[in-house]
Amino acid sequence: MIASLLTSLVRLFTGARGRWPEGLFVTPRPRVYFANHTSNLDFVVLWSVLPPTVRQRTRAAAARDYWTGGPVRRWLASSVFNVVLIERKQVTRANNPIRDLGAVLEWGDSIILFPEGGRFSEPEPMPFKSGLFHLAQEHPNADLVPVWIDNLNRVLPKGELLAIPLICSVTFGTPLLRLDGETKDAFADRARAAVIALRGH
């Protein structure tokens, strides 16, 4: 209930709307939504514009070091947004993020991933890290859906505490095609280009 209250509030504040190709949400397959990352509000807004039934089965990948730093954040992460905490700093075989995210997909839920590995305020996204590639390799049944989040870098830029209300939009693309034998770098470039291609739509 708190989640739906918060998501309504975020939509009201940013006037955010989701746009997607018709029929995007009819498949029962798990999804990896991958998007550009400029603001701490990114995943909340992306999550908010999803249809409620889809949202209930979609979890964002979030940095463990940030989201366990304090009781409020920990409560938001576990009880409200139900995020998948992943390790950024000391990745070992035991806490490999790809394994934790893969378990979510196995379970049939979808995930939200920001493959740049951090927030940047450049107009274009940074080169993508390899996590998306490995996830795609290990879970061929999951759809990879590119997403462009527009204007949130102005709502809450990196390093600011207070948000200003500007109109945002979240544009979903059609799932990325799977190409056999594609290299890690070629895949990363193609995935990044698919996100950028949604800008201005």
């Binding site: 006037g15 305020s121 204007n151 102005r154 830029p157 600011e160 207070l162 200003i164 209300p165 500007l166 109109i167």
Partner: protein
Amino acid sequence: MNLLLDREAGWFFGGVLGLLVVASLVGAVLAKTTRSEPGQAVVRNLNARIRAWWFMAAFFGAAVAAGHGASVLLFAAMSFLALREFVTLTPTRRGDHRALFWAFFIILPVHYLLVWKHWYGFFSIFIPVYACLWIPIRAAMAGETEDFLGRTARVQWAILVCIYFVSYAPALLTLQIPGYGGENAKLLLFLVCVVQMSDVLQYCWGKLLGRHKIAPRVSPSKTVEGFVGGIASAVGLGAGLWWITPFTPLQAAGMALAICLMGFSGGLVMSAIKRDRGVKDFGTLIEGHGGMLDRIDSLCFAAPLFFHLTRYFFT
């Protein structure tokens, strides 16, 4: 005054209701009889506009009838939405973030508080002097110098248009007009009715007879025929509404003319901004109309002049 018990306000609201019913009927008939594809597109847009008018009239009528506080709150909300649309379209930089936070969450509420409190002396200078001084100070403190003058001007203009100019409409409620005590809400009805009907009539005349573009580069949809016909008929309407105002019929016509000319100019200026930014509308808030700012662009420009004319000649 309780507007719900006021006989003149009753007639006015009855007239608006009648007009909306007639408009909806005409829209329904046109939807049945129009055959050509471009014609149907125009009729679909027309019907979307009429549907939206029902909601806007109901919202506005309810707020004005509920009294001073509700009216001020409604215009504050309209300013907020307009400012959000304006800033979304305006290129600002990271260094403007704090200044914009001030605009949305401090300058806007404080300004409307002054309207609510009837504090005219402070109301009239708070934004033009102090907000306009503070915006560049805050932006300079943020330390970003690129395009500084342009950014400052854009934020100042956003605040002036979306907050300051709009707020002159509810500020009408604070005027002390001899022999019109407690009836000011009807002055607000007069302003909003004339300015919006002027837009509607210009649109209708333009669609029916429009041939010669009046400002082809700025606003391709505005025509000389729409301008003349729309303003003449809106002035006639304003004169015919003299009985809800403190004016004589002739004075009401003069006021309506001033409102219409400023309203037209407002539409023109805001169109120039939209063309510059490469968009057709400021937003998608109101179906068929675009955004909040598309609907109130004329009001922004007409309200200050109407307020000052009334204040100078009638108080």
